[in-house]
Structure formats: C-alpha cells, structure tokens
C-alpha cells in the first residue's frame, strides 16, 4: 500500500481528459453555510480530499479546511473545460454537482466558522464509506456504448496514467482462469477442447454460465465466506471439543451460494434464521435454523466456557461486524473506538442482542456433553418419535425375562469383602464337583453386598470335565477375544441380568469409557459383563488388568453368567472372584444348578432376539433424534447488557439498550421483545446501509482480481485503505443492490469485462488492472488439483466427520481433542481444528480458524518446496499419473501428450519433448530401467512447476 495509486499519480501531469461533461447550466445558485454540509462537503470528501487533504496536499492545495482565496481561482480553473488541469481526475463532475461547487466558489467558498480549522476528513461521520453509495454515471471513454461499464471505469484510469492495457488472453488461459476462479479446480481436457472448438458467438458466456451452475462453485466461493467467519469443526476452548453438527452450517453456506440465495437473505438467515424459520416450513425452515451456525460457531474460550462467554460474544461481534460491515466493532469493548466513530455503547447494544440469544453449547473440560443443540424437525415429528420410542421401550421390557426357577440347587457361595477376593471352592477349599446331564445349566451369580459400591469384579472361572478319556476345560477367559459378539451369549456361556427373574443383558458395548479394548454387554449402566481384550491394563474408573473378564452387579440385583453342559458327566468348578475396584461393599458369589436348563435358556434366547430387533429400531430413532439437530442458535431471554468497564465483565457500568449500532446514523427498529437479531439483520441488509453491499462486491472483486478495490476488505474504516476506484466500487454496489443482491450476476458482470480477460502480469501493471493479476493456487486448490488430476478426488459433498461418540468424550487441556481425518473429498470438507491447525493448510497460507481471514497470505517459503519435492502426497499423486499416462503403448510422445493434457489442458511443445529426453539421458547410469525412473521424475517435476502452481 505504499505505492502511489493511479488516482494520485495521475494528477500532476497535464491530463489527457479533454471533454468535460456538460457545461454548468444556468446561473450557479448562491450557496451559503447552511447548504454546505448537504451539498458541498460530501463532494469535497469524495472527490478532492483523497489527494488534497490532511495526509497529502497535491499541488499544495488542501480542501479539508477552508481554502485560501488564491486557491478558489485554481479550483475554478480546474473545473473549466479546456484548462490544462482538469479535476477531479476520475472524470468530470456531474452537471448539478458542478453547478453547486461553482456556486459555492462564486460565493467566496464559505466555510462553517465554528470549525473552520477543523479538518473535515477528520470528522469520521464524513468518512467516505459511511456515506451511502450514489450510483455514479459511467465515464464515457469514447468507445461504443456497449462497453462493459467496469471497463469504462478502469480504462479511464489507465488513460489518465497513459498505461496501455495488455491484450486479451488466449482461450486456454481464459478457461483455466475461469475454471479455477469459479470452482477452484482445473478444467478437464474435454472442457478445454470444447471451448477451443466453440466458434459461435457467446462461447465465453457459455463457459461462465456452465461454471456458475457447477456444484463446485459453492465449494470455491463458500470457502471465502468460511474464511471470513473463521469456520472450524472444533470449539477452540482449552480442550478443543469437536462440533459434530457444525458441518451442516458449512454445507448450508456452500448450498446457499450454489442456489444463488440473494446476499441480503444470505446474511439475514445467518443472523436470525431461527426467527425467520417460524414463517417457513419443511427444508426451508430447517435450512434457516442451520444458517445461525454462523453465530453459534463462534470461538469458545477457557476451561469452563461459560466463565469466558464475554470473549465469545466479542468474537461474535468482531466476526459479524467484519464480515458484513467491513469494520471491527470489537475495539469498542473497552472504550470508544480510537479511529472510527464507534461509541462503546454500540458494542454493548450488540452485546445485549447476542447475550439474549441461546448459543448451542459444545461441551468443555468440566462439562463434556453438548447441549442446546437446535432440533431441525417440527414439534409434531418430535412428539411422534417420542411416542414410538416409549412404546418400543415398553415392548422390550415385556419381551425380556423368565421367572427365576424355584427348584435351583445351590452348589456353593462365599462372601468377597471390599478389596478382597475369594476362591470358587467348597468351604474346605476344594473344587466344587457336580454331576450334570447334557443341557443342564450352571448359573453363577454375583450379588452386591450393599446397595452402593456394588463394583467391578474380576472373575476367573474354570469348569473341568472329570470323565477320564475326555479331559476338557472351559475357561471364562477363553471368550475375551470374541467379545462382545453378536448376542449376549458366547458358546456355552450366557450373560444375564438377575434383578427380577432371568433376562439377557440387552446392550452391546464395543468401547466402554472410550477404550476400545473394553467390550461386552450390559443392561442400562449396570449390570454388565465385559472383558479387557488388551494385553495390558486399562485405566478407567480403576485399573483393569488385560486379558480378563469382569462383571459388575447392579445396585439392587445380581449379575449372572450361565454355562450349559455340552455333554453329561462329572465336572469340577474352580476359580477366583476378586473385587477389582476397591472402596465399596464387596460382593457375594453363588453357584446354582438348573435341571433341565436348556429349554429355559432357549426361551431367553428367543426373547433376546426379539428385543434386539426392537432395540435396533430404538437405536435408529435415538440416532435420528441426536443427528437431526444443528449447532445453531435460538432465542434466549431478552435482556439489555451493562457496559463492562475497561472490558472487564467483573466491573459492570451503565445499562445499554440492546439494538443496532448508532454510528451510521441509520434508523433501526427499537428492540422491545426478543434478542433483536431480526432487527439487526434488517439493519445490516438495509439498502440505506452504506457498507454492506460495498463490502461484499469488494470481496467478490478481490476473489477475481486478487486485490479488492478497497485493499483492506475487513476494514472500511478510517484506518483502512482508500478505495482505488471509488466510483467503480459504488457503481458495482448500487448495481448489485438494484439487481436484487444477485451474486452470480455480479460474477458474470466482472468476468465479462475486458479487464478480466487480459493477459496476465504482476506488479504495478496488475495492480492497475492493465494486466490480469497472476496468482498462486490456494492451499485448497493445490490439494484439490492433485486429487483431481490423479483421479483420486471424490467429488461428492462431504458430510459429518467420524468424531468419537459424544458419550465417550473426556477431553482436557492435557489431552485435548487432536484427531486428524484423511479424506479424498475437496479440501473445504476436511476437518479443521482450532487449536491444532492441519500442517498442510498452515504451510500454504490457509485460513486461520481462530480469527476472520479476509486476505490469504501469499508466501513463498522453502518448506513449501520441501513438501512439493518430498511429501508422500505429491509422490503418490505423481506415481498415479506416471502409471496412468504410460498405460497402453510405450510411445513417449503419447505419454507426453497425455501428461500435458491432464495437467495443463494443452499439448507439449517440441522443446518440452526434448527436455524429457535430456532428463532421461542425464539419469542414464548404464543400467536398464532408466525410462520409468526418468518418466516418474519428469511427471513430478511438471506437477510442481510454475505453470501448474500459478493461474495466469
């Protein structure tokens, strides 16, 4: 920004502009101080002060303070047609404005006395961006009237600096540029061919239209918005909890852009979609609620996130104001804004709005589980689901059990004290011997000694067949590796809840407390039977040694394991029952014989199978209930906020009525009930708001031309960059609003300009748009390109991430969530954490998930080159392409053609073919097999060459 911009540079030399617009009509009206503010000052600020103000005084002239008498003549001269110097350089003033200015000058340029020496530019209310854009007339640069107005504005500047624009780029360059710009992907060779062959008029327009309709359009431009709102899939508090439902907002953004939701509505839904949903039905209502993920996805802070919610509200205010208004209101948290005219009360007016909003709760270290997730189904659907659930649960309960047989024979029992253990044996310490017929059942019961602390109990149990000739032993630990299995039985063993009669344990467990080696069955929390399949101990509520079976009785009833005798004979039972979790009441074991038992167990099995079928449906309904929610917002309790003195929530000051900011002086609905988000959304998207449309068209401009007309897209305030071409910006902003905030139409308008279709360049020529600014692929484009050209890309939209289930969460600042998930989908769908950025995206200047990214850095560092040279990702991309291009015949010319068409959409030149042969020659080491080695090296070199990495 230190460079002199063309507007300024163009003033000193005599200008080429010959014809001024219409000459003033009639006698200038006398203008006095009272009309100065309305008619004169805004023109001075807009047209003159950028070069003749406090910061620069071109030609020694200053117009932010009362002009000297001698200056009045100079100004008049510059407004007179035929004079050597013509002002302003952006083109002649509109006739009425000129009449006003001349009238003012003829009156002796009266200046309001009270602040004659006070600079008008320093009066922030008159800052250009805070005055509504007026649609400027399109400059006439002597071309046919069909010229794109954008070119009229740009060419006028180029003419004023005598800069010749570059010619039109060739078609290959254009389709590559357009395809990357609109979809973030390279064109396919077929798409290139089709465009090159399309000789009918309107071929370019057809390409642009096709790309705007591509589902990949939203994936590219949605990323721009996700950068600005610092989208992430984790909350960012100390343990960085996952946000398993956040992806719905991400996909909403992509989808909203794809269906070209008008920008004003795009904003309204994000700020107040839950309130708007009340007037909507079906998917429209659902989508509208999801959109408020914009607010709910704000960053969380600290250990107990509720204690730091003032920081989250600050993040919301910062993001909302930067994203929509191109201004940070967060600076007004502690004091009135230093540079922009934003009073502290505006910050707390917004604070009240967000404090009156209920944000979904992500979980944090002291409170792991999410809450306040927003249901996406209607109340009727929810009620219907709840009823079905209740009925099914009742049926499961009825399916379950059989009465306890009255004629069971007890074979032994003993008490195990807290922390102690007892052998399964006769009172004299011998194995318990019993004669059984085939199908008889032994039932082992573990009873709690007290009603609390009935605890995890380790069980060793062995049944020996005593009959000579057929020695056999069944050990309970033999089944460790097959747990949990499909049903609560496993060979001769079956797991039972004995609280009331006999019933099988109903719920299958694959990871108890998030430990994958703990598997088994339970009913409710307890009773349970499970094993530790690992070789080593697992630390959960207590340390559980590996390769062991554990049982856990319920607080009021025993847990049971039955064993069915496969053959008749005598058996000896032995084992150990040990309290595995010291600090309770201990347990009592007993063994019973059930004769005959098989039929009983068969009944139990049937009941279990029926119950499991019902439970599958129950699980489905429960999963739907938990999935069909969004990480979004709802109304809270409407209340005004207090000022926090010096930004400290512990030092409250005066109450501020919640509502829209006052600094723009725009009318805004007073908030009486509710949070006020709807009022805020309407205020931001009001046609009168001078910032919203300008900020958005500037972002779209930046997306196509690399730099915005305002080079600081998140800062349109007094410290931000001046627009390099304010008339163009205002023309675009007003046209955009006139066209119903139609973003795709704006893209088309920009891309149909000559300026967009020029040959590429860099430096000052690109800054002036005399050449199209060359750019590097973004991190996402680079990764997606490699996936696409190697045929690995899965082009379907991404959905949820495979986060661990919520009930297993135990994230802390010591062991935060830190997973990485591989994906072959487009980069916008890759899971992004706040506290641990994915190294690849950080390396190639990806967005910062912690704060609004309005401009991507463009660094060129050797660690990027290391990745391009040596990373497994580029290696495998190269390998796949090398293999694919060489499939079929061994003709290197064909390989070259296939390679260049795949990567660049063109044919290789003779020099490039020669290059390959040279490499092969250089790599030749007297051994065979040079060709594959050389081809591989050549493919990888081309893959990381500048022609691939940069868009012309």
């Amino acid at each position: 920004m230190q460079k002199t911009h063309p507007l300024v540079a163009g003033i000193l030399p005599a200008l080429l502009l010959t014809a001024a617009a219409a000459a003033p009509q009639g006698i200038p009206a006398r203008i006095d101080v009272s009309t100065f503010e309305a008619k004169i000052r805004p023109v001075l600020i807009r047209e003159c002060i950028p070069c003749h103000g406090a910061s620069q005084q071109k030609g020694g002239l200053r117009l932010d303070i009362e002009p000297q008498t001698s200056d009045i003549k100079r100004i008049k001269a510059a407004l007179t047609p035929g004079n050597a110097i013509q002002m302003p350089p952006s083109g002649a003033l509109n006739a009425n404005v000129k009449t006003d200015i001349l009238g003012w000058l003829d009156s002796g340029a009266p200046w309001p006395k009270a602040n004659a020496s006070k600079s008008v530019a320093s009066d922030p209310k008159h800052h250009w961006a805070f005055l509504p854009p007026k649609r400027p007339s399109v400059p006439n640069v002597g071309k046919s009237p069909s010229v794109n107005p954008i070119d009229a504005f740009i060419n006028q500047r180029l003419a004023s600096t005598k800069t010749n624009a570059s010619g039109k780029a060739d078609r290959l360059t254009l389709i590559r540029r357009a395809t990357y710009d609109l979809t973030g992907l390279p064109p396919t060779p077929q798409e290139v061919d089709a465009f090159l062959a399309d000789k009918r008029p309107g071929a370019w327009e057809r390409v642009v239209d096709r790309l705007l309709k591509s589902p990949h359009y939203g994936e590219k431009w949605g990323r721009l918005w996700l950068d600005i709102v610092h989208y992430a899939d984790t909350a960012g508090e100390n343990s960085d909890h996952p946000l398993p439902h956040m992806w719905k907002y991400r996909n909403w953004v992509i989808d909203a852009l794809n269906r070209n939701l008008p920008y004003n509505m795009f904003l309204q839904h994000q700020l107040a979609g839950d309130l708007m949903a009340e007037q909507l039905t079906g998917d429209a209502a659902r989508d509208s609620r999801i959109a408020t993920g914009f607010l709910a996805g704000a960053r969380r802070f600290g250990h107990d996130i509720d204690a730091d919610m003032h920081l989250t509200y600050e993040d919301v205010i910062d993001t909302t104001s930067k994203a929509t208004l191109g201004l940070s209101l967060a600076c007004a948290r502690c004091h009135d804004h230093k540079f922009d005219p934003i009073p502290q009360r505006d910050y707390y007016a917004l604070y009240g709005i967000f404090q009156s909003t209920r944000f979904a709760y992500p979980g944090c270290e002291p409170f792991q589980q999410p809450k306040f997730l927003v249901p996406l189904t209607s109340a009727t659907e929810q009620a219907a689901r709840a009823t079905e659930l209740q009925q099914l649960e009742r049926q499961v309960a009825m399916q379950a059990g059989v009465p306890r047989p009255k004629d069971m024979e007890q074979l032994g029992t003993a008490r195990v004290p807290d922390s102690g253990s007892a052998n399964i044996a006769t009172p004299s310490g011998k194995p318990i011997e019993v004669a059984l017929s085939a199908g008889d059942v032994l039932l082992f019961e573990i009873h709690p000694n007290g009603n609390h602390g009935a605890d995890t109990t380790r069980l060793e149990l062995t049944i020996h067949g005593m009959d000579t000739g057929k020695p056999a032993a069944w050990r309970i630990t033999d089944i460790v590796d097959t747990l949990p299995g499909d049903a609560p039985w496993n060979g001769p063993w079956m797991f039972l809840d004995l609280a009331a009669g006999l019933r099988t344990l109903g719920e299958r467990l694959t990871d108890i407390n998030g430990k994958s080696s703990l598997r088994g069955w339970r009913s409710g929390e307890t009773p349970s039977v499970f094993g530790n399949t690992a070789q080593t101990a697992v630390d959960v509520w207590t340390s559980l040694p590996g390769r062991n079976i554990y049982v856990h009785p319920g607080p009021k009833g025993p847990v049971g394991i039955s064993w069915t005798a496969p053959t008749g004979g005598s058996f000896a039972v032995s084992g150990v029952v040990a309290d595995a979790h010291p600090g309770g009441d201990g347990v009592t074991w007993s063994i019973h014989k059930i004769t005959p038992g098989m039929k009983l167990l068969a009944t139990l099995k049937d009941a279990s199978v029926r119950a499991r079928a019902l439970e599958t449906r129950i699980a489905q309904l429960r999963a739907q209930r938990s999935l069909d929610v969004a990480f979004a917002c709802a109304e809270g309790t409407g209340a005004d906020a207090r000022v926090q003195l010096k930004g400290d929530p512990a030092v409250p000051g005066a109450v501020v009525e919640r509502g829209v900011p006052s600094f723009l002086g725009l009318p805004g609905g007073k908030v009486t009930t509710g949070s006020g988000r709807l009022e805020l959304a309407k205020w931001i998207t009001s046609r009168q708001n001078p910032l919203t449309a300008r900020v958005w068209v500037n972002r779209i401009w930046q997306g196509h031309f690399g730099t915005g007309i305002v080079a600081t897209p998140n800062d349109f305030g007094l410290r931000g960059a001046q627009p390099t071409n304010q008339p163009l910006l205002d023309w675009l902003a007003t046209t955009f609003m006139d066209n119903g905030w139609d973003t795709k139409r704006l893209h088309k308008l920009l891309m149909s300009s000559d300026a967009y279709q020029r040959k590429s360049g860099s430096g000052e020529r690109a800054a002036a748009l005399a050449a199209f600014p060359r750019r590097r692929l973004t991190a996402e484009e680079l990764r997606d390109t490699y996936l696409k050209v190697s045929g690995v890309l899965d082009p379907e939209p991404g959905a949820a991430h495979p986060f661990p289930p919520e009930h297993t969460w135990a994230f802390t600042q010591h062991t935060p969530f830190a997973d990485e998930y591989d994906s072959s989908k487009r980069s916008v769908y890759v899971m992004q954490k706040r506290n641990r950025r994915t190294p690849f995206f950080a390396l190639f200047d990806g967005p910062d998930p912690n704060t609004s990214t309005a401009i991507r850095d463009n660094t060129t560092v050797p660690t990027q080159a290391l990745w391009l040279m040596n990373s497994a990702f580029v290696q495998s991309t190269g390998d796949v392409i090398a293999k694919r291009t060489t499939s079929g015949t061994g003709d290197i010319d064909k390989w070259m053609t296939s390679l260049y068409r795949t990567l660049l959409g063109r044919h290789p030149s003779a020099a490039e073919r020669a290059d390959y042969y040279l490499l092969e020659y250089q790599l030749y080491d007297g051994k065979s097999g040079t060709t594959p080695r050389a081809w591989n090296a050549y493919v990888k070199a081309l893959l990381v060459s500048n022609e691939v990495l940069y868009v012309d």
């Binding site: 100390n238 802070f301 250990h303 730091d308 920081l311 930067k322 201004l327 940070s328 540079f339 922009d340 600081t712 998140n714 800062d715 305030g717 410290r719 360049g761 860099s762 020529r765 060359r774 590097r776 600042q813 062991t815 830190a818 506290n835 641990r836 950025r837 950080a842 390396l843 910062d848 912690n850 704060t851 609004s852 850095d857 463009n858 660094t859 060129t860 560092v861 050797p862 660690t863 080159a865 290391l866 990745w867 391009l868 040279m869 040596n870 290696q875 020099a911 490039e912 290059d915 390959y916 040279l918 490499l919 020659y921 250089q922 790599l923 090296a937 050549y938 060459s945 500048n946 940069y950």
Partner: protein, 457 residues
C-alpha cells in the same frame, strides 16, 4: 560434460538474476536480515519453556518462613480455590527441597537444579514474575504471544519479523517440542504476521523436519530439479518478470540446500564425547532435553534467530497437583542439559550475544488444602524465571515476593515486561515493533510492557 556444464547448478545464479530484479527480490524476502531499532546486545534467542508450571518456592525463590510456618492457615482470595469444594480452608505447605547459595553472586537455588546452580554467576534471576491467568492454556498462550485468550503471533515470530534470519537455508524460528503443549500450534504460530515467520516445529527424532528427506537419490533429484528449472525458465521467458515466480524457483534451490543443511544440524557425530557428556547426552540418542539443547546450539550457531525448546507436552509435565516429588523427575530431565548449554555457549564465546531464557507459564501455590497435601496448585501471582547471556546482567537477582512467596512484593515483572525486555536485548523497541492488521497496529506487548533495565548489562 554436457550435463554439468550446461545444465548443472552452476547456471542457477545467472538464470535467477535474469528472472528477477535483485532489489525487488531482496525486499520480497521476508526473512532477509534486518537492522534492529538500536544496537542489539543479543543476536539470537534460545527460549527454554518448562510446561505445566514450575513451583517457584521449590526451585529459585527461597522462603525460609514457608519451612517454619508449615501448617499455618491462610485466608486468600485466590483464583484456584474460589468455589472449589474441599478448598474452604487452606494451609501453608513446606517446600520439599533445601536451598543453597551459589557462586560469587550468592544466588539461591534448591537442590532440584544442582547443575544450573553452578552457572549462577551467568544468570539474571527474576523472582517477581506474575501473569494474568492461572489456567495452563491461557497462561501458556500469554507467555508465548502476550495474549491470554486470542490467537496472536508468537514471540519468536515477532523476533523473526523484526530481524529476519541469517541463514536462508534454515527457518528463522524453530520450536523443538517432543509433544504439543497447551494451546497447541498457537504457541509458535505467526498468526497475522507473514507466514514465513511461523515457527517450524521439530520433533526430536531421526527425521526432525517434515519432508526433509528426498525419496530418490540426491543426483536424481538434482537432475529432476534441473528439469523443473528448465520448465520454469521456459514458463518465465514468455512472461514479463514476476518476482513471485522467481521466488518460487529460488525456493526449490533453498529447499535443496535445506535437505543438506538440516540433517547437518542434527548430525551430532562430529560433536566430541566431552560435549555429549556436558549435555548429558548419550552418543547416538535422538531424544531427551540434552538432544534438544545441543540441537539448539547447533541451530543458533548456523544463524537461526529464535529457538524454543519445550521440555514436555500437555501431560506428564510440571503440573504436580498430585505429588511435588514429580518435580525431581522433570528437573533431572532438564538440569544437566541446560547447564551444559550455558557452559558450551560460554566456552565458544557465544553466550555474549546469545540470550538464553528460562521460564514457565506460572508458579505453584505455597499452600494447599491440607498442610501435608502432596501437590501444589496453579499460582499466577508469582513465579520465577531467568535470563542468561545476550546482555542479561550476570549474577543479579531481581525482584522479590512476600515471606511465603504468595505475592510479588518488589519490582514485579509482568509477562509483558518480560517480553519487552527480551525484545530490548534483541535491539527491538517493543512499542515500535508493530504490524498493521484489521485497521490496528498490533504489538507483542499490546499497550503494556516496561523494559526491566536492572536485569540488563
């Protein structure tokens, strides 16, 4: 020979100067060495960060009354006991290690750091550090970025931004960390500063930098890079000079150099047995703090501007709630290597202009909820840190806490003051080292910070 004379690397400098305006390139390289604001006492920093909160009253802040008044009940409005069940009453807890005076300066240190204590006369000890937050995450972020909640550029990134680097084959800011600490990658991020200033994390082990090892032979790679250069030259020759294209071409050459420079940094075979012994490092081992310290010396020797060593990750660290005796294990891990680093730098004449900083995120409570509780809690009110070399005043002990080490009593040094002092020693005025972002000029010290003159030579 055709291959070496026409297409070999010798052609590169000529090719490059053709492709870029040399002046444009110099100013485009964010890591080009830059002049400090004023004459610097230190040219480079080695920042030793002890993760988890080192107890000051057990290490460098001797409080005899804490030994004698053990068990005495105290009443405090302390952030770690507020609304915490079981902490309705708190009692003074006795330090578990004895203190001695060391060196000419008579600096006091406990028996936890017997080796570092032998360097007492090179150390400027600050016993009056304090910070804003008693949570690991926030305090760690604060010690690294000056911000206790929001992501901001790290100290190392600011120094790199202010001074650039003296070795273009290596990153300017390196963090050697066996595990991620609290706040993850934010502690070495460049945030809104240009990405070239972000810390490169090195994980101790045989492959310390990602993608540093080529998967083809060096000569094959050289030829492939030459082929790439030919492609890029042809591409550039049909376009007007563009510094970013030229810089990209250069970046591959630098990376090729890094592939040799980086393994060279971490190849300790030519270090003598005596040096290995000094750092307490077993020959051939690529782990442990001794390895980190020796790697740090080799990095700064080669012109790397800022090296941070993090001793442990976000678990198994100095956070001894359960048992203070765990401090012994952690001190043993770092004591000898740190002393070795100081002595080695001194012997090589490098300590003069190398600033070594030893710190942690906060101290630990001089009390607990029973007098014989085995652990200590987080304590943001007071802790100890030290500086050595690079213009830090040797042998000085600065600032003090009250009789129990509870609160700072004299010459408090806030994290912002600490940062201002480090920047000052590097020749940077913390109020002038700014970066415009979102309409505001940001600095490491926000609107705070005073240089602590009395710890400076």
């Amino acid at each position: 020979m055709l291959r070496s004379s026409i297409l070999g690397t010798m052609l590169f400098p000529g090719l490059l100067s053709e492709l870029m305006h040399s002046d444009a390139h110099a100013s485009d390289n964010p890591l080009a060495p830059k002049k400090p604001h004023f004459k610097a006492k230190a040219k480079r920093v080695i920042f030793l960060f002890m993760t988890g909160g080192v107890s000051h009253v057990d290490t460098f802040d001797h409080k005899p009354k804490l030994f004698t008044d053990v068990g005495r009940e105290v009443k405090l409005d302390h952030p770690e006991i507020k609304n915490r069940p079981g902490y309705e009453r708190i009692f003074l807890k006795r330090p578990q290690w004895d203190f001695k005076r060391y060196g000419q300066s008579g600096m006091e240190a406990s028996t936890l750091f017997p080796n570092v204590a032998t360097c007492a006369d090179d150390i400027a000890l600050i016993r009056s550090m304090h910070t804003d937050h008693s949570n690991h995450y926030n305090a760690t972020l604060g010690m690294h970025t000056g911000s206790f909640a929001f992501a901001r550029p790290s100290l190392g990134a600011w120094v790199s931004y202010g001074l650039g680097s003296e070795n273009q084959n290596l990153p300017s800011f390196v963090t050697i960390a066996p595990a991620q600490t609290y706040a993850g990658s934010q502690v070495y991020a460049s945030d809104f500063l240009p990405g070239a200033h972000q810390g490169t994390r090195i994980v101790p082990g045989p492959l310390p930098i990602a993608d540093i090892r080529p998967n083809v032979s060096k000569s094959d790679q050289r030829q492939a890079l030459n082929a790439l250069a030919r492609m890029n030259q042809r591409h550039a020759s049909t376009r007007a000079a563009d510094p970013q294209l030229a810089a990209r071409i250069q970046s591959f050459e630098t990376a090729f150099g890094m592939q040799m420079a980086v393994p060279d940094v971490f190849d300790f075979t030519k270090e003598s047995d005596a040096t290995h012994a000094l750092y307490g490092l077993e020959r051939g081992s690529t782990s442990g703090f001794g390895w980190q310290c020796l790697a740090a010396r080799r990095l700064v020797e080669r012109g790397v501007r800022f090296v941070e060593l993090i001793d442990t990750g976000s678990s198994g660290n100095w956070d001894s709630h359960g048992d203070m005796m765990d401090h012994e294990r952690l001190a043993r891990n770092v004591d000898k290597p740190i002393a070795g680093l100081l002595k080695d730098l001194k012997a090589r004449g490098m300590l003069e202009d190398t600033l070594v900083v030893w710190t942690t995120e906060f101290g630990r409570t001089p009390f607990n909820n029973t007098a014989d509780a085995r652990g200590r809690e987080h304590h943001s009110w007071a802790f100890s840190s030290w500086l050595a070399g690079g213009g830090a005043k040797p042998g000085v002990t600065y600032g003090s806490t009250d009789e129990y080490g509870m609160r700072v009593e004299t010459d408090g040094v806030h994290v912002h003051d600490f940062h201002a002092t480090i920047l000052h020693l590097m020749g940077l005025d913390h109020t002038r080292l700014t970066y415009r972002h979102s309409g505001r000029d940001y600095r490491l010290t926000d609107v705070y910070g005073e240089v602590v003159r009395k710890v400076i030579v």
